[in-house]
Symmetry: C2
């Protein structure tokens, strides 16, 4: 299965501390490294936790508050100093370029390294990035300024070929690619062999949703329902829900309720107000509603996993096989 | 004696690490807190090492390379979020305001907190800040872009009144202020008592000079000669002096030679290239020339001290006193 994980680089709200830097996360998928938000010191945390800054080619910025972007000038400078080649794509509000350009005049010196800014759509869900294995979608959140969440969703994987059947039917290698995509097979005697007899189900698709900063928002349920891992801000405990609403943030209870309604696999909460000297009240509040909740701590890595249910499927008897076992993997 | 110290917040060259953040230092004098340079994460280090960001009212920026300024947007934002009132004065190249303003639009929201930028003079030595006890002067360094060093120099202290003589001559409190400034005293019988018989020497004035980024520069000797503490960059060891010259930096040997020629009390070296996995070769090279050399490590605090030499001075006999002792403090 392709690697797919989230590493917390920074997890604090507005004011960073040595223990909790400002918001920034690394998503790795299929040996690629993506960055979400870039609070001050993100480049320090990247190196601290073993990532190569030069490998990042795509950065997704939720909104333009300083605690989500003030690490960008340093990160981009370090990329340039390190001799990074090619294009760095930044997906953000269109104002970001005007904020960064005065700080990055030196970049004109290099023709080999370009920073390209791509405006996000803050009105509706949109695909912002896509490769052969992964799609990243943005969806509107509700904060004091335009803000987007991001959904990292794997594309459908190939079906698994059954080695026993490949041998039995002597299926040439050249014909197997089509089978992985779901095609039936025409045997040398003209018999059609259904794809289901030749393949096992593909790996389940996995997904990760990132939601900060925002009030709790039911409108995002279509985007996040069924995600394996959900990061949702929880700036306050619920006794301060009025303050949360006023500042356009969420409480731990509200984040947990949303995770429950979205049938998320696991929930990570973070972006805690600096008034909380430890995270106990926040995690306890969230777990009372959604037990599978975890706290975002700098350096912590969350693998994006599905829960496996082993089911023996006895296929109907056919002329060429008496019975088969399939391993069906179900995503939550 | 007034407190006067330097604390290293960050000591690395271009690329910050978790162990060594980018260049930034705190100078405290007479309960005031000054900042020199402001590399990424300076606000994190300030809190980590027990400083209150809201107490900083004056920031001195040597030059506009990112590793010396990328901590400013975050620091200023945090000051504003923390409800800082009054004026923050930043002394820097005049381009800085244009670089910071797009990132700090929110500051318009507050009328109580203002950021005021003051341009430095990159052609000649100039006083940039002054209060009743301290003067800060800038002096030109030589780097790839305009760059200044800073000299923090105490003003002359008051003379110490001799309690025994105040009693002997029954000098009223109202007349004593003038004596502290060096005036003689006219006794009730009209006799003139020389100031030297009524006072002990003032505390010596102390000074700290900050020099980065720069080639070694003899032209700065008039500014830094006799400083009690000198910070001078030492990006490379001397085997890379050609690279140092090409990139407008200094070697550890060159920094030590300058400290020796300036008769500095102590030397701190820092801003090491990331090629040095430990600082041994740099400190050994510097100490072979200037033994009183120390390495800048994040969090380290250097008190600015003078060396005391106790000298008994037997003053000439007078009609009112047989002999006196004075404690003469000499600065190096």
């Amino acid at each position: 299965m392709l690697n797919f994980s989230v590493t917390i680089l920074g997890s604090n709200s507005a004011i960073p501390t040595f223990k909790r830097f400002s918001t920034s996360q690394v998503v790795t998928h299929n040996e690629k490294t993506y960055l979400i938000d870039c609070g001050e010191g993100a480049q320090i945390q990247l190196r601290r936790f073993g990532f190569k800054v030069g490998k990042i080619n795509h950065i997704f910025i939720s909104h333009l508050h300083g605690d989500h972007i003030f690490g960008l000038p340093g990160l981009i400078s370090t990329m340039a100093l390190g001799g990074k080649k090619g294009e760095l794509h930044i997906y953000s509000h269109s104002d970001l370029k005007g904020m960064m350009d005065p700080l990055l005049l030196f970049l004109n010196e290099s023709d080999d390294f370009k920073v390209l800014y791509h405006p996000l759509n803050f009105r509706k869900k949109a695909i912002v990035y896509e490769d052969s294995r992964l799609v990243v979608e943005s969806f509107p959140l509700k904060h004091r300024i335009p803000c987007c969440g991001f959904l990292f969703r794997e594309k459908e994987h190939d079906l698994h070929l059954r080695a026993d059947q490949m041998d039995y039917f002597k299926i040439p290698v050249r014909d197997r690619v089509a089978l992985k995509g779901g095609a039936n097979y025409r045997n040398t005697d003209g018999t059609i062999i259904p794809n289901g007899d030749l393949t096992l189900p593909a790996n389940p698709i996995r997904s990760y949703a990132f939601c900060t900063d925002t009030v709790p928002r039911k409108q995002i349920l279509p985007a996040i329902t069924g995600v394996n891992l959900l990061y949702h801000e929880a700036t306050f405990c619920d006794d301060l829900k009025d303050l949360a609403l006023k500042t356009c943030h969420s409480t731990a209870k509200q984040a947990a309720e949303l995770a429950l309604e979205a049938r998320a696999g696991r929930l990570i909460i973070g972006h805690f107000s600096s008034r909380y000297k430890n995270d106990n009240p926040l995690i306890e509040e969230a777990r009372s509603i959604f037990p599978n909740t975890f706290v975002a701590n700098d350096g912590e890595r969350f693998e994006i996993e599905v829960e496996y249910i082993l089911i023996h499927i006895f296929s109907p008897l056919t002329s060429y096989s008496s019975s088969k076992n399939s391993l069906l993997k179900l995503t939550r």
